[in-house]
Each structure stands twice: as structure tokens, then as C-alpha cells.
Amino acid sequence: MPLMTSPSRREFLRVAGLSPALAPLLANLSAFATAPTGRAKQRLVIIFSPNGIIPDNFWPPASAAGEPLELPKILEPLAPHRDRTLVLKGLCNQINGDGDGHMRGIGCLLTGVELLPGNVQGGSHTPAGWSSGNSIDQEIREFLQKRPETRTRFGSLEFGVYVPDTADTWTRMVYAGRNKPIAPIDDPYQMLGKLYGDARDRKALGGILDAVSEDFAKVRSLVSEEDRRLLDEHASMIRDMERQLAADAASAELNHIVPELESGVSEKDENMPKLSRMQIELMVNSFACDFARVATLQYTRSVGQARMAWLGVEERHHELSHRPDTDLEAVESLTRINRWYCEEVARLATRLAETPEPDGSGSLLDNTLIVWTNELGKGNSHTRDNIPFVLVGGTSQQSWGLRGGRAIDFGKTPHNRLLMWLANAFDHPIKSFGNADFCGEGALSGLV
């Protein structure tokens, strides 16, 4: 139940974050006891940054077995995590159908299935709507939420950084199902409200939701059958909220320590670094509190137009990404932009590595796999071949068992097979995901 904190309450929140020193304290809370299954708390984070990469500065050169993984300019910030980094080349988003390259780039990235026909028109191709299937993070979330030993309060959390305030195909990566995009929350204050809520508000709400449901039942007969669908959908949300409130009330989890955020950071280009860090802190926090096992973090959107003046890049990102390879200045700017995204990925990895698992067995990063990806292989060609997938963390044998320090080239393999691997690694034995035509040879192998 995400509820906003009121501005007056919010005003007094200050910089902090969950420092490693706090963790032993947290471990005393009942919610942080070790999972009873003996298996570690396996987690997945998917990070998105837009507009393709600069291949020469991104893909590690082929290296012989045993040699350390070489990190080209864009990937350099991952050096502290070199041994836990696995770079996957040759994975291709081969989904065709409606939508322009950017739309399919982001809309089919985690769903592996075509977009529905729709009325959102891009710069080319046919118009499209939302995805026709769910995304892999939501597939895994549903799977984990069904089983009591892996169920968490939220299941998954959808973070964003500086995502434009429009609901369209370029802006949504995560889908609960066909035609059901989930908007990332890019306001850290809103996320804080969602995570920590307000107990008194819950009580008041609990007192009236029953009456609201009754109200819906009473008015639904007044509208036509076509319009009733909308009311019924709304009414079912009210009932879900009622159930959620009841469940929350029964759980002791609400007593968590609330992290503090710097106040008044607004959504604008120059605040992206701050916003990113705030979201990373909230994510690390919610893993430490076991609020969720799955998270996504979406930077801007496909076709993202961030102006990264703090990198000395004044021109907007998407516009830059269209420049030809011969424009060396643009190549340099794009390299800097991608490297900045990589720094944020590395920052998350570092924060997870610094934060111990509540049960004391290693760090959060040991059991958390970060997957950093993009809607395009390359910006100026709009190719969806060689979509970047960089895997970091998850090296514990109790969870992912990833073998890092490597780069693998899969040639030309549909990316659906990576999506399947992610689910299988959670012991969710799906035989295909998204468009089955691209799943023929099963989940990828050789990652662990």
C-alpha cells in the first residue's frame, strides 16, 4: 500500500541511507531472521539505460580462459567487481511486429513478445500499443509470491530515475501482463512513502473501504455493459487494497527503520546523479528489509533525452545517439554517457557488497544478480542485435552461482533464452517465455 508522506512530514527527512553499521541492529528484528529453507534469499535487479552503446568502447575483446576479463572504457567502472562480472554478447531481440525500434527495444526487452497493435506512433514503422505479455521480472515475482517461503511484502519494486511523465510505449519496460504496463516510480519520496507508509492512514482507510466496495456494487447497474468493465476493474482494486491492508496489519514488518532522504531534490536533468543515488539507497534498504526479491531500475526511457551537463555533454542523449560513427565528438560524448550509467551500476553493486545479508552469511551482492541492459545494440543503426547484457553479482552457490570474470559471445541468439534462464535460476522451470519461436533451444547455458 503505497501512501505518500505529507509534505510536512517529508520536509524533515535528511541525508542518511542505511549504513553498514546499522545492519547488525536490523538483524535483531524478527523480519530479518534467516530464511527457513536453507537456501539464500535470491534476488534479481534489472537496470535499463537507453539509446544503445558504442560497441568499440563496450564489448570486451575475446580473452583466453584464465586471463582476467578486460574492461573497455565504458565498463571500466566495474573494475572493483571484475570477478563478479559476466558480459554477454550476441543476444538479439528478434521480436518483430508493431512499433518502432525504440518501442520494441524497450517493450519486448523483458517480455520477449510482440507489442499489441495500438495508437502510439513512433518516428517510423507501424503504431503500437502495450506489450502483449508480461515481463520476466513480473513472471518471477508472481512465482516467488505464490510460495510462502519466498513471499515478501511487495514482491517486486519498480524504480525509475528521471522517467518522463508520459505513459507511452517508449516509457514502459515492465508489464504485469498483456496490456498491463507498470509505471516505474521515479520520485524517491513517493517510493519512500510506498515502502514505509503511514500506519494511521491505514487504519482510517480500513474503516471505509468496505463502504466503498458497497458503493461500487450499488452504482454498477447504472451504466452500460461496456462501461461496467471500467467500474469493475476499479472495484477490484479497492478489494485488493482492503486485503492488502488486512495482511499488513497482521504483519509486524511495518516497524522497520525508515531511511532518510535529502529533501527537495526535484526532477531535472542536473539532479539525475542525486536521484539515482537516492533510488539506489532505497533499493538496498528494501532488500535489507526483505521487502522484495525482484527490482527494476529504469533510467529515463527508450529514446531518453537526458542532458548530462555534469559530464560536459550539453546535447541531449537521443539526438546524439543518431550521429554517424564518423562523428568522433559524438562517439566521445556517448561513451561518457554510457560510462556514467556503468558507474551507477557499479555503485549499486558496491552498496550491495557493503551491506551484509541480515543473517550474516555474506553480502547482499552474493545473492543479488544485477542485469544491466539497453533497448538497442547501437543508437544510430537502431539494431536490436547484440543487445548489451552485463551481469554483476550473484556469485554465491546458495543462490545464482554465477561464474564471473568472463565475457561470452553467443553469436546470434534470441534474448528470450536469457529471460528463460533468469526464471529457471529461481527454480521456476518455464519451458518458454514470450514468443515461443525464439525459445526453441531452451535456456542459455554456460553462465554458472
Binding site: M1, S124, A204, I208, V219, S224, E226, L230, E233, P324
Partner: protein, 798 residues
């Protein structure tokens, strides 16, 4: 919701009958022939009704006239053998498919749009909450005096010396020494105070009062520049409270959300203590704007009450059909509504004594009476929120049952201490909280049309509610409610009178500005960045000036004079301040003569190429690239937004040719080259020929005569939906054509109507569109009249 299909079908048959009884047989046989050819040569790929097939999936739908369709068919169809269907055959088949399924008219007939049940949009919800609470407060009046009242008080220590001086300043942006109307004792920090205070230095305290108008909804960042202590109150909330200053920083900033079309109380206190000649600037940064001292036109010396604003971040509404609407719900939206309901409830309970006229000490003494007063307050809230009189069931369901429990709780608690809102036992606060939450979460509030369906006898309340939503995005005010109560809205003339009255409310202005912002895509291009090497004197501030200039022009066209749409296209004047005049090279604005160099004045444009909105510096700039113009963006904008044409997407992904790769080509030549293939031409004839007419304006909106050393070629043209062809040369030709174009008139009427009502226009029937267009034309294209006619038409619909 009622279906409007019958009406559409009737209109179609009426037209069809006219068509059939035309005294030529050839037309009918021509149609048969077209149908026959379509069956033989087209169905296989395009499908029976042009809906598309696996082989070619794009449906044949659009608004090209039959003549253009025939041209394209002649040139390209059937695939592989374009000669097989040309001349009269092509015309016949074009005519057939145009009438059968291609044209907008045929589409509306085949799939009649309907009015869908809609929830309040985000703007409507925010505005409604503001007025719901605001209706229990007094009303402010903007008045005629622009600027703010600034009170200067001399003090020695804490003691006041002499009478304070009140000045009305056009804006707050001065050094104390600038203010010649203050006497020397204010200006000279070494002036001695009266001896009895024991201190020889005079301090000057400054207090600023008045109100500030927010033209649009969004986050406003306020800043105060001074070294003194500062308290800044916006909308009765202290957003800056830095009374102690020991830092070097002279600027303090804070943000707050404001709803557009409303004025807010503003107050600022500071003091000159221990400085010689302090400066004081009260500035803001509007949503997507730049730092500026708050301009005079947004300030008033009048007073306003606080406005209730929820701080909740709502997910954006769907606008995929061209206007914002509330046709779907999502979990995030429901959660945001819940959060807003909670926040509003908490805020109302905090101010309950003020809003419900309860004195706290009396409430303390007579809890039973306070309980009744709070119940009355909640009943009024429900009536406002549901936009009509309550039924007995509603009184009980939403309000009385909670207060009855509270009354019982009071009796039971007489022995013990009084319960408060924190406790679980029913108290007055407890009942108020539940009643308000139930009201704000009710579908009767969130889906306005449901309430009217619930009590069909209150048709006047329905008219009032719809008018308020159409013109204000909000709830009916007192005059509307009263008119509804005495059944004074059942005839069109009475409804028109109300709508005309409502036009003068600033909320209508905000809604109209919002329309322009979407129609002209102002919100997509809030911040322009341009190559500093090519355009060293272009910057954010010039871009913001261009935007202000356009806004002032739009306001002017709609709200001053005859409100004639044609002036939007034909005006040869520009609003400029000193900086923009310099940038554009407009002469005759002498900086020395301008009291306020930031203030905008209307001046003749620098060139007769400039004509109205489509060649306004902001528009031609925003429809350009980082260095170059973009005839395609300009053409698409003119076709889609101004002329209301539907354009098909490009058949394949095309990255624009980089200018660097063909340095010898002008922009026009490059675009022509790239769009020369057959499959591009079906749309790009339309796009390019419109876009090229604006080639006289470069990527920062300035006039140019040459591109790459060659004279700019601005020849172009347009083929209208009625098939008429026109040659155009340059921006003025274009503007003249647009001003009188039936396509523009139809597009404007339709888009404005849909912006107001949040429903598809054709759901009200073809006849409604025709009638509104005729009314618009018959009244010299008055936009103000159109606002009234559109709002009233929708409000009176069944």
C-alpha cells in the same frame, strides 16, 4: 452512457440518399466499377474492408481526398504492375474505397464512437479538491492593481521609528538605494536613530504582501535573493524560513506545487540589518521556465485565501487519442487517489473549526453540538462533491451513520476522557475522517456521470456539473449551483449565460492555455538546446522569452478584442522584451526607454515574413534540430496539429540523413532527396510542401535568405481534404491560407471540443460537429463564442 451510433447512421443515410438521387447514373455505376476493381485487384492484400491482411497489415484509413488517392493508386498499384490500374479505373476505385471505409466519415459510420464513462482526469481531481475545500472559504478578487505591496518599517533595535511607508512595486527586484520615494533615513544606513533607543543605527524591515497567479499547474521554484533573514509564505505555507543568516549565500530557494488558473497569497519578510544597501529579489522559475523576478503581470496587491493542493504525484492520464482523458484506471492511479483523499481529509480536519465555523472552545464545552455542526459540514461536502442534492440514502450512507456512532460514543464516554482521532472509539473527528474519506473515494465523486444517472430528475445539476468540468475542470460554483436548484439551466440560452459568465474566470484561461500547450506541443519542447557554436547568442533565457512571447500572443488573441481565430494566423506583431528584440533584430525598442527590460511589449515584427503562430519564433525554433531546420517536423506539425490531418507512419525506419554526410546539399535538397522514393511520397508530398514554406526561418527562429549560400526556396503547396489544390510560397502565403482553410477550422473546433469535454466529438453526432462549425463560421470565428457553444452543447446533450 448512451450510444450515439443511431444519430451517426442517420446522418450517413441522409447523405447517402442525396448521393443516390443525384441525376446521373454514371456516379452509381462508377461506384460499382470501383467496387468491382477493388474486389478483383485489391482485396487479396488489403482485405474486404481495407482492414489489411497478413501480407499487408496497415489498414486503409485516412483523410486524403479521392483525387490524391487516385494519384497514388495510379502511380503504385497494384504492386508490381502499376500500369494495370490508372486513369479512370484508379479514380473509380479511389472513390469507392473513400466512401466505403477510408474517409473519416466512413470510419465514423462503420465504427461509431461513443461517449465512454470517464473518471475525473488528474487535473479535474486536483481542481475539484481545491474547490471542494475552497467553497467553505471566502473568495478573492484579482483586481486591477498589478504588483505587490511593500511595507518599509524603520526600527532601532526592536522599536519602530516613525510611520511605516507602503509602496506598490511592479515587482520585487531592487536595491534599497533604488527606491527614490523613500526618504534618506531609510536609504542611508548611517542615519542616526532617536537617542532614546540607545542605538544609533536604523534598520529597515521589509514586508511584501499580495498574491501571485499561477498560469499553469506544476512545480514552481521560488527564490529570494538577499543577505537578510527571510520568511517566504506561498499559499499560506512557509516555504522558506531562514531567519538566521550566517552563510555567504545570498539566495534561498524552495519549491511548491501550484494549480493553474488560480491566485495564491504570497508574503515575504526580510530586513536590512547591518548592511549598507541590501538587494531584494523575489523570483520564481515556472514549470519548464527560467529564473526570473516574478513578472508584474502575475502579481496583484489583492488578497486571496489558501487553496487546498494535494501533494500527491499522480500517474499521467492517457492522451493517446490527442487529448487528455480519464478512460482507464490503474492501480497506481487508485493508490494516488487514495493518498490524495487521505491528505485532504487530514488537512480539512486540521482546519475544521475554521471551515465549519466551529469555535474550538465552544466545541470543547458542547461536544454534542459540535458533532452536529461537523455532520452538517460533511453533508455539504458530499453535496458539493457529488454536484447535486443528496438522496436520503446518500445522507445516511456517506455521513450520518458515522456521526450517529460518534454521538453514541460521546454518550458512552461522558464518564471518561474525550476520545480523539487517534483512538479507535468513534468521536466527532473519527466520524469526520470516515465521512470525508468515503466521499472522496466514492465513484459518485470520481465518475461525474454516474451521479446524474443515479438521480435522473436533476437534469439542471447535470448541466451545471458538465459546464464546470468543461470550462474549469472543476466543480460548479455557488451561482451555478443556485441556478441548478431553481431549474434555471434547462434552456440553452440560460446555460449560455452561465457559460459566458464562467469565461471570465481565470480557471477557463488556464484550461485554454493548456489546450494551446497541447495543440502547439508547447509542453514537448519546454527546454530547447541549440549548438552554441552555430548560435552563440541563443540560450535558455532567449528560449524562455520566445515561449512567453507566444503565450502572451495566444492570450491576446483569445481574450482581447474580437477573439478571431484568423488573427492567430495573420497577426504581424510580436510580443518582445529588450533581450528578444535584440536577438531577433527588431528595431525601435530602446533599452534606455524601457522601465523594465524584462517586460514584454507588442511591436511590429522585424519582417513581413512573420505571420501569426506558425512562424512565431518559438514555433519555428522548437520544430528544428540542434543546428538545422527540420521541414519534416514543421510539415508534420502543420499537417497533424493545425490542419488536423492523419498521417501514416513511414513504411520503414529512416534515420534522417546527417547534414555532415552531404555538406553540399541545402536542407530542402537533402529532405527532398531522402523522401523521393515512391513509398515516401504518398505522405511527404503533403509534409514537405507544407514544411518548406517555413524555410525562411532558421533553427533559432531567425529570418534567413540563404541556406549554404543558395537563396532559400520556400515554394510549397497543399491538397486539402476536399481535393482542392493550392500553391504556397513562403510563410505569409501559408498563414493566409491556414486562416481561411476549412480543414483548419474543422480541426480547431474538433480539438478544442475534445479538450473541453474529454470525449470524442463524433460521439455527439456528425450534426453536432457541423452545427458547431457553422456557428463558429457565422460568428467571425470567435474563439470565445466557440468555448461557450462547445461547453453548452456538451452540457445539454442527453
Amino acid at each position: 452512457m448512451r450510444q450515439h451510433g443511431t444519430q451517426n447512421r442517420r446522418a450517413f443515410w441522409a447523405a447517402a440518399v442525396v448521393f443516390l438521387i443525384l441525376p446521373t447514373e454514371s456516379l452509381a455505376s462508377d461506384r460499382d466499377r470501383g467496387a468491382q476493381i477493388f474486389q478483383q485487384s485489391c482485396v487479396e492484400c488489403h482485405g474486404e474492408l481495407g482492414q489489411g491482411t497478413d501480407y499487408y497489415s496497415i489498414p486503409l484509413r485516412g483523410d486524403l481526398p479521392p483525387s490524391e488517392l487516385a494519384r497514388i493508386i495510379s502511380a503504385t498499384m497494384p504492386e508490381g504492375d502499376p500500369q494495370a490500374c490508372s486513369g479512370e479505373d484508379a479514380e473509380a476505385v479511389a472513390r469507392y474505397l473513400y466512401d466505403a471505409f477510408y474517409s473519416p466519415f466512413a470510419q465514423a459510420r462503420n465504427r461509431p464512437p461513443r461517449r465512454e464513462l470517464s473518471r475525473l482526469t488528474v487535473s479535474q481531481l486536483e481542481q475539484s479538491i481545491a474547490d471542494l475545500v475552497g467553497s467553505f472559504r471566502w473568495q478573492g478578487q484579482w483586481g486591477d492593481q498589478r504588483g505587490l505591496t511593500v511595507k518599509f518599517t524603520k526600527r532601532v533595535n526592536t522599536g519602530v521609528v516613525d510611520q511605516p511607508v507602503d509602496l506598490v512595486l511592479p515587482k520585487v527586484d531592487f536595491f534599497l538605494s533604488d527606491l527614490k520615494s523613500l526618504d534618506q533615513s531609510y536609504l542611508d544606513p548611517t542615519a542616526k536613530g532617536k537617542e532614546e533607543f540607545g542605538n544609533d543605527r536604523i534598520d529597515v524591515h521589509v514586508h511584501v504582501d499580495g498574491s501571485v497567479y499561477a498560469p499553469e499547474t506544476g512545480e514552481y521554484e521560488f527564490f529570494v535573493r538577499t543577505a537578510g533573514g527571510v520568511e517566504l509564505w506561498i499559499n499560506s505555507e512557509p516555504i522558506i524560513a531562514e531567519r538566521v543568516r550566517s552563510d555567504e549565500q545570498t539566495e534561498l530557494r524552495a519549491r511548491t506545487k501550484l494549480l493553474g488558473g488560480r491566485a495564491y497569497p504570497i508574503a515575504l519578510s526580510t530586513a536590512r540589518i547591518a548592511q549598507d544597501d541590501p538587494e531584494l529579489t523575489l523570483g520564481w522559475r515556472r514549470p519548464d521556465g527560467v529564473d526570473e523576478a516574478i513578472p508584474t503581470r502575475f502579481l496583484s496587491t489583492s488578497f486571496y485565501p489558501q487553496i487546498e493542493i494535494t501533494d500527491v504525484a499522480f500517474p499521467p492520464d492517457d492522451r493517446s487519442v490527442g487529448y487528455v482523458r480519464g478512460a482507464s484506471v490503474s492501480r497506481a492511479w487508485d493508490e494516488a487517489v487514495t493518498a490524495a483523499a487521505l491528505e485532504t481529509t487530514e488537512s480539512v480536519i486540521d482546519k475544521l473549526d475554521q471551515l465549519a465555523g466551529l469555535k474550538p472552545e465552544e466545541a470543547e464545552l458542547d461536544q454534542a453540538r459540535a458533532n452536529i455542526a461537523a455532520q452538517d459540514f460533511c453533508l455539504q461536502m458530499a453535496e458539493q462533491a457529488f454536484r447535486r442534492k443528496l438522496t436520503d440514502d446518500e445522507r445516511w450512507r456517506f455521513v450520518e451513520r458515522y456521526f450517529q456512532s460518534a454521538a453514541a460514543g460521546l454518550l458512552a464516554a461522558q464518564e471518561g476522557p474525550p476520545a480523539d482521532v487517534e483512538s479507535d472509539s468513534p468521536s466527532t473527528a473519527w466520524a469526520t475522517e470516515r465521512a470525508l474519506l468515503a466521499i472522496l473515494k466514492s465513484p459518485r465523486f470520481l465518475y461525474p456521470e454516474i451521479g446524474y444517472a443515479l438521480d435522473a430528475s436533476q437534469t439542471d445539476a447535470r448541466v451545471a456539473g458538465r459546464l464546470a468540468l468543461a470550462l474549469w475542470d472543476s466543480l460548479p460554483d455557488k451561482p451555478l449551483q443556485e441556478a441548478a436548484k431553481r431549474n434555471g439551466l434547462s434552456d440553452t440560452e440560460a446555460a449560455r449565460r452561465q457559460a459566458e459568465r464562467m469565461l471570465s474566470d481565470p480557471r477557463t484561461r488556464a484550461k485554454v492555455l493548456d489546450f494551446f500547450s497541447q495543440w502547439l506541443r508547447l509542453d514537448d519542447v519546454a527546454q530547447l538546446s541549440r549548438d552554441p557554436e552555430a548560435f552563440p547568442d541563443f540560450n535558455d533565457r532567449v528560449a524562455a522569452d520566445m515561449r512567453s512571447s507566444l503565450e502572451l500572443f495566444l492570450e491576446d488573441v483569445v481574450w482581447k478584442g474580437d477573439s478571431d481565430l484568423r488573427r492567430l494566423f495573420l497577426s504581424d506583431r510580436l510580443y518582445v522584451n529588450v533581450r528578444l528584440a535584440e536577438f531577433l533584430g527588431i528595431e525601435g525598442i530602446d533599452p534606455a526607454q524601457q522601465q523594465d527590460p524584462e517586460a514584454f511589449i507588442e511591436a511590429p515584427a522585424e519582417t513581413d515574413l512573420r505571420s501569426g503562430v506558425v512562424s512565431h519564433p518559438f514555433m519555428v525554433t522548437s520544430l528544428s534540430y540542434y543546428r538545422d531546420t527540420s521541414p519534416i517536423h514543421r510539415g508534420v506539425f502543420l499537417a497533424r496539429h493545425i490542419l488536423g490531418r492523419s498521417l501514416r507512419p513511414p513504411p520503414e525506419a529512416v534515420a534522417p540523413l546527417a547534414p555532415e554526410l552531404s555538406p553540399e546539399l541545402t536542407t530542402r535538397e537533402r529532405v527532398s532527396l531522402q523522401t523521393s522514393p515512391h513509398q515516401c511520397q504518398s505522405c511527404h508530398v503533403l509534409i514537405n510542401d507544407l514544411g518548406f514554406t517555413l524555410e525562411h526561418f532558421d533553427a533559432v527562429g531567425r529570418v534567413r535568405q540563404v541556406d549554404l549560400g543558395k537563396p532559400v526556396d520556400t515554394s510549397g503547396g497543399y491538397v486539402a481534404t476536399d481535393g482542392s489544390r493550392i500553391k504556397l510560397r513562403g510563410s505569409r502565403d501559408l498563414a493566409k491560407y491556414l486562416a481561411d482553410s476549412p480543414d483548419v477550422h474543422r480541426s480547431f473546433v474538433t480539438q478544442l471540443f475534445e479538450h473541453l469535454t474529454k470525449q470524442p466529438m463524433l460521439a455527439y453526432g456528425q450534426a453536432t460537429q457541423d452545427a458547431l462549425l457553422k456557428d463558429f463560421r457565422d460568428h467571425q470565428f470567435s474563439i470565445r463564442r466557440l468555448l461557450v457553444s462547445a461547453a453548452v452543447t456538451a452540457a445539454m446533450a442527453d
